[in-house]
Symmetry: C2
Subunit: 324 residues, 2 copies
């Protein structure tokens, strides 16, 4: 388990680099949800997702010699961009392993940030973990894991520190905080920060239908893997199972998980565009979908939904916008 001191140290290292994202709202969303809804607009973070927080935290916590040798990461896209940009800003090499079927925008952006992108064949059964270990060994790069790394979780926790401050400024001391949940780094980081700084704000993770490994793991009290397909609409958060570091945090601090359908996620994306003027990717919209359409599963009172990313291919986004 990480500590609030580690999150505060990550926030110190992030000062002047990581963006403080706004907490937004819209009366139309309040009306749909039947309660006050606030959104933490992490799609506005550098690289278009919260992942830059964790990447910056991990790289800035390394000793100079280790960092100078370079880093390697595997990711369907958002962690890739976060690590690539952090490495670029620090002037160190980054190699990113990405599935060949990742969204084109994410691959293109990662390359544009100066990283060496190595594509692997996810469908054909190539293992990114094995590829990553080979690269680590051959090139003495340091692996930056997408969520099961204490410094990455601490970095994501800086988002929770901001939520605590922003909610307090609005007079909101009791609320449900919905997180878009893949491996649980954002969920665990925010939950740790809020437990220390705003204990009336209670985190509940949200996942897409068919990829509810965190919700089922929380119900069972132990890590359960998804056994369905590996690809789906919400590419950013389709991890096979909660992490070994993140699950104990979620188990200790979070309420039951929520599950939303792809149709609800798409509707949330349309509302975010029309009401908040934000471009969200599917995986970044599941928490808003739960806020808007699953209020019956939540305690009364305000909801704060993290909008965790906006890296969606324009053609897909356009198709979703016009399908409403």
């Amino acid at each position: 388990m990480i500590t609030i001191a580690e999150i505060e140290a990550a926030a110190d290292r992030a000062r002047g680099v990581v963006r403080r994202t706004p907490l937004l709202s819209s009366p139309v969303l309040d009306e749909i949800a039947g309660r006050p809804v606030f959104v933490k607009a992490e799609a506005l973070q550098h690289t278009g997702s919260f992942k830059f927080r964790g990447a910056w935290s991990a790289l800035s916590a390394m000793d100079d010699t280790t960092r100078a040798r370079g880093v390697v990461a595997y990711s369907s896209g958002n962690h890739a961009q976060g690590v690539a940009r952090a490495a670029q800003l620090m002037g160190v090499p980054a190699v990113i392993l990405m599935p060949a079927d990742a969204p084109a925008l994410k691959i293109e952006n990662t390359r544009a940030m100066g990283a060496e992108v190595v594509l692997y064949d996810r469908a054909g059964g190539e293992s990114r973990e094995e590829l990553g270990e080979t690269l680590q060994a051959e090139r003495t790069l340091t692996l930056v894991r997408p969520y099961d790394d204490p410094m990455v979780i601490a970095g994501q926790g800086t988002c929770g520190l901001e939520i605590a401050e922003q909610a307090a400024a609005l007079g909101v001391t009791q609320a449900t905080v919905l997180t878009c949940c893949g491996g649980g780094g954002l969920t665990g980081g925010i939950a740790t920060a809020l437990a220390a700084k705003a204990p009336g704000l209670h985190v509940r993770p949200v996942e897409p239908e068919g990829f509810d490994d965190m919700a089922r793991s929380l119900r069972r009290g132990e890590i359960v893997r998804n056994d369905g397909p590996e690809v789906g609409l919400c590419d950013a958060i389709l991890t096979p199972a909660p992490g070994n570091l993140t699950f104990p945090i979620a188990r200790a601090l979070c309420g039951p998980g929520l599950v939303v359908s792809d149709a609800e996620t798409k509707a949330a994306m349309r509302h975010a565009a029309a009401r908040l003027k934000l471009v969200l990717e599917p995986g970044g919209a599941v928490a808003l979908a739960a806020a808007l359409f699953h209020g019956d599963m939540l305690d009364p009172g305000p909801v704060i939904a993290t909008l965790s990313g906006g890296n969606v291919d324009p053609d897909l986004f356009a198709a979703i916008l016009t399908a409403g």
Copy 2:
């Protein structure tokens, strides 16, 4: 001419109500422009455009008796929503005159904010000014003009106060500030604020091709009207001529106007979605278009582009996203 004291008073009245919008950036935009580009994300303002600032300023400056009788406004949409929302928050009636061919999203949003919407036939030659005066007289409503009102200009100027502070925090003391320019309220308000608070930030208004009344008026030294069609892509900023109050401010404080094509505006909208995760309407993207594609017309150094609104119909937005 309005004073910095009037803008600061508007900022005092706006505290806790008007949103402080972020100043964002993206390395990809810097690369396209060949210089640092910052954007003031007014599409994230309440009601999706900067117009809420001026509307709140005007209504909050009225005496209680006048305000309680209600307000009337004419607008193709963004001023309408700003006035409707300010009136709703203050609990006073609002009647909004809108052209029947305004974007459906703007009409729908204005109604959703509790305003009475009266549609008029712009193409058929109905005069919104005459309709507005009739309503004013019959119902003792107070007209809130879209830009030629000192309290409205002062409210838009609060955006300039924020730009001055945010640029200073980044160490930017010399820059070109590009404003999306319709009647000149935002341009005049920001220019007045910056002249007092950040004199190294120099405003230049940006307009769409065929609607460059401000640019031509600045060249001629007197107000010149557009003589072309009244409708076009950038519906939010297609005013017939600079205002009687706003033009003298622009003449005193702003550099030459810039003109962008509709194709450049659409490209700027695509970049804003892909890189900044912001939904912009065409009229809210002209300043970014000038920053990205007309650098040869600008002094060297950083550019700050206002992104003034995001109220675009989803079908149009989707069509623009996929046309790139």
